[in-house]
Amino acid sequence: MIIEVDNLVKKFGDLTAVDGISFSVERGTCVGLLGPNGAGKSSTVRVLQCISPATSGSARVLGIEASLAARQIRARIGVVPQDNDLDGDLSVWDNMTVFARFFDIPRKIARERIEAQLSFMGLADRRKSRIDELSGGMRRRLLIARALINDPMLLILDEPTTGLDPQMRHVIWQQLRGLKGRGLTMVLTTHYMEEAQQLCDSVIIMDKGRILRIGEPLALVKELVGDEVIEVRNHVNAAEIERALGGLEYGMETFGDTVYITHMDVAAVMARVTASQMHAILRRPATLEDVFLKLTGRGLNE
């Protein structure tokens, strides 16, 4: 096991950010921590990175208790932070060399690795650029390249594509899948369900500091939502739909102006709703987003 978390609690004063969670991450897998803002994802990740001591419980990273050997663990993991913390005073190349120094990587090996990482991330021709000359996507790729400088056994990514445009997001997903293909273990936090579906072997859905569900993305979708979802919007109420669908088996959820119908014989339900002349009907595949909203609630939970 690369990570074993057991009954982990993290409190900041009166606020309980992480409230007794347990999970583990196997070597070579990618695990996603999903949850709305304030769910406790970043707090969990900070404990794993050994920059925030657990209040109670245990977090073992690479077989070592995180609170006991921070240096040893940090030497063997890579971290892609949520906020850009590239060194704005240094060039791309100097950012990498200074960082390599922190890990005691000999100059020659560092130079080879930096060349390799920069070209893998498509930044080979930007080595002399200053950080403020890079686009948001380039900065994010440089953060990933920097996190790989010590050839880590585990890569932790805190919201790796937040704030990027769709093209760049897909490029980064490609590269992360490439890393996963090489056997790198990854833990990522995200609130993009598509990202989790694209990258993760297993997801941990969190809310208010607790774990709601752990499972494979597709299996969770199938279990909790089914294959497809039919959305009926505008001027309908649950009672109307129940009348139209009488005798069929289905799940239903209402939020605002929309009724979501799940877990059903799609053909039969479609036939009924069209026959009853309902408008604004959308039929689509079920996604992890449905699972997420089902578990964490569709309303504002602030």
């Binding site: 921070a70 940090r74 906020d83 913390d85 060194d87 240094l90 922190f102």
Partner: protein, 258 residues
């Protein structure tokens, strides 16, 4: 507290090195600023005001104030570096955050910042001394001992300023530190007037201001009056400096690692 010291290892140098690499870009502008300020004091106060004052303690006014300027330059630079500059690196540039993702410990980050503050302070001291030499004010052979004094002054004010930074919620906080502590110290530590001429109450206060000892030591070096007082002056800087250093490690660690 002992734990904090034990976590300071050789990686302190890497933190220092990061600042040195980044500084390369700013060498010229800071160099010009470092020359401009001493010139201002020497010309405006030493020559301008000095011409009305005549001799103090048997020496021309410019000769009287020169030693104080060599150490106050170190104080100002170290204090500025470990407040405003460190705060920028910590909160805006998130340099500490990046360093925490590596085997560098929180204590090494803080120690490296203090070492860097000392370095910048020493550079200012050197420039000031060169300016004084150009004005023909530095000719005692004892000026070779200045590095010890610069280290002691830089260590004290870098550590103290780091403690201040550990309490600072925003940049305004530093205004109080400079206006209520650093600047008054500049005027009440015997640089511009002999301490004996102050009222007794002010003189007593000045004994609690670390810069007073630095000015005293600097005057001894510049005039070649070596004695026990120089040893006492150095200890009066190093001992509080060490206490503040350990306290800065402890306070800043709590701020960096939550």
């Amino acid at each position: 507290m002992n734990n904090s010291l034990a976590s300071v290892g050789y990686r302190t140098y890497y933190v220092w090195l990061r600042n040195a690499v980044s500084y390369r870009r700013f060498i010229l502008p800071t160099f010009i600023a470092s020359i401009g300020e001493p010139l201002l004091y020497l010309v405006a106060i030493g020559i301008g005001l000095g011409s009305y004052l005549g001799a103090i303690d048997g020496m021309p006014y410019l000769t009287f104030i020169a030693p104080g300027l060599v150490v106050s330059a170190v104080m100002f630079t170290s204090a500025f570096e470990c407040t405003y500059s460190s705060m920028v690196r910590m909160t805006i540039e998130k340099v500490y955050n990046a360093q925490l993702a590596t085997p560098v410990s929180a204590e090494e980050i803080v120690a490296g910042e203090i070492l860097w503050g000392m370095t910048r302070g020493a550079v200012s001291g050197i420039i000031m001394l060169i300016m004084l030499a150009i004005f023909g004010l530095a000719h005692s052979p004892w000026i070779a001992a200045y590095p010890i004094l610069w280290i002691a002054v830089g260590f004290l004010f870098s550590s103290l300023s780091m403690v201040i930074t550990s309490f600072a919620r925003n940049f305004d906080f530093f205004t109080y530190y400079f206006q209520l502590f650093i600047s008054p110290m500049f005027f009440f530590s015997g640089i511009f007037f002999p301490l004996d001429r102050f009222p007794p109450a002010v003189k007593t206060i000045s004994l609690f201001l670390p810069l007073t000892y630095a000015v005293d030591a600097s005057r001894a070096l510049m005039q070649g009056n070596m004695g026990w007082q120089l040893m006492i002056d150095t200890l009066a800087l190093l001992i509080p400096g060490f206490i503040l250093f350990v306290y800065a490690l402890h306070r800043m660690k709590k701020r960096i690692i939550k």
